[in-house]
Each structure stands twice: as C-alpha cells, then as structure tokens.
C-alpha cells in the first residue's frame, strides 16, 4: 500500500466514525427512550410549582466523579419524617433528567435515601424533597465527570 492510498483510507474511515454517532440519534427518537429537557421533567414532578432551594436538604455527591457510570448520591432531609412525602433525584443534562423518586411513609423513621446514578457528562445533580403541605424544597450540586456513563 502506498502513501496516497493509505491517506485516502484513513480519511474515509475517519469520516465513517464521525458520521456514525449521528445516525442512531434519529433511530433513538423513534425507540422508547424519550429525550426531555430539565424544565419539562421538573414540571412533571412538581406539577408547575417552583422548588425553593433550602439548607434543609443535604445532598452528598462527589464533586469530581471519575466514572460517570457509577456516581454515589446520598440525600438527607432535615425534617421530621411525617413532613416528607417523597424525594426525587434529577440530573439536568442527562438524556432523561428524571432519575428516581422515593415515596416515603412514617414507618421509614428518617427521610434518607442513597443510590448510585449515571451521569453522561459534567452537570448539576438535584435532590428535590416533596413536603406534606405540597411545597418542594431542593438542593443542587455540580458534579464533574471525567468519563461519561450513559453511552
């Protein structure tokens, strides 16, 4: 193989690699996962109400996550358990920002929840607590991701 052919082939291969990620994007829109914006997802959870940022929600997440596929998140709400109905976890720049919702009862004894989530890139993680009177309080934390985890 001479130099001219080699350069041509690498250029073609490069073009193929550059184009291929764009192709499945069109297919994904038709498949069942749906892309949503953060505002849309937030509206669905809070039903139009605006969550207030509060010191009462304690969100513990690493400020730098090496692997976006496994980011430990811990949420604690400084409120009696009777006042907390649910805890929602969201990540604003994910494909679907809503990650999980926990519905609590007084039998839980303590408004606490911990899990591991995926982050596609560097973004803010939100913990939103739903209180008994229907209001929402939240906390957010920026997490820096070196390797994304949503594929």
């Amino acid at each position: 193989m001479n130099r001219r052919n080699f350069l041509k082939m690498t250029a073609v291969a490069g073009a193929v690699v550059a184009v291929s990620p764009a192709v499945p994007l069109g297919l994904e829109a038709k498949a069942q996962p749906k892309k949503r914006s953060f505002e849309e997802a937030l509206k669905e959870i809070t039903k139009g109400k605006k969550p207030v940022e509060s010191q009462k929600v304690k969100l513990i997440a690493p400020s730098i996550a090496e692997n976006g596929a496994v980011v430990p998140v811990k949420v604690e709400v400084v409120e009696p358990i009777e006042n907390v109905k649910a805890i929602h976890i969201m990540a604003d720049k994910n494909f679907d920002p809503w990650t999980c919702s926990v519905h609590l009862t007084p039998q839980n004894g303590k408004p606490y929840f911990s899990t591991r989530i995926r982050l596609a890139k560097t973004m803010n993680v939100y913990a939103i607590a739903e209180l008994k009177d229907g209001s929402f309080i939240m906390a957010k934390k920026p997490v820096k991701v070196t390797i994304g985890g949503c594929g």
């Binding site: 499945p24 494909f95 839980n108 899990t115 949503c150």
Partner: protein
Amino acid sequence: MGRTALIKLRPRRYKKGDLVRVDSVIMHPMHTGLVKDKKTGKIIPAHYINKVEVYYGGELVTSIDVNASVSANPFFSFYIKADKKAPLKIVWKDNKGEVTEKTVKIKPH
C-alpha cells in the same frame, strides 16, 4: 425470582424502635436503550428496573420509581423503624415484567 439480590441491615443488632438502615443490591444490567452493542452494532433494547416496593409486615412502606439512569446493579439504601417482629420484603420489577423478591426477617432484640 431469577436474579441475585442482597439485603443487609445496619447495624446488625438493634433494639425495638431503633432506626435500621436497609441496604439493598440487585444484579441487573440496567440497559438504557441508548448504548450500541460493540460486536453487532445494534442498539441494546432498554431493559431496566422501573419499580421497587418495600413491604414490612405486609404493609407497603416505601416505593421507589426508577429510571434507566440509575447505575447497573442498582443499590438502594433507606431507613426503617424496627418496631415489630415482621418480615421485610423487597420486590423489584423491571420493564419486561420480570419480578424478583427477597425477604429478610426483622427481629429487634
């Protein structure tokens, strides 16, 4: 009933009325439906857990709605007030209708 699941109680010894942390893990790939198979180039269809229910003595205590953006082999941790001697049952359901159950006994000393 197919999948491996684990439930651990922290601390291991507790008195009646104590708060006990329940750590649960289930082995599940949690496919988002966005990732391509490296060998075949096809998109792996979405397959993830979308509902977790916790029963304590037959009563629904906690329910968790889960999306695909939770990590593979999902880990959930929450508290429970151990005020009676009863089984704690966790039920994991995924979007293909697969159901896994695991029960531990809660017996306060």
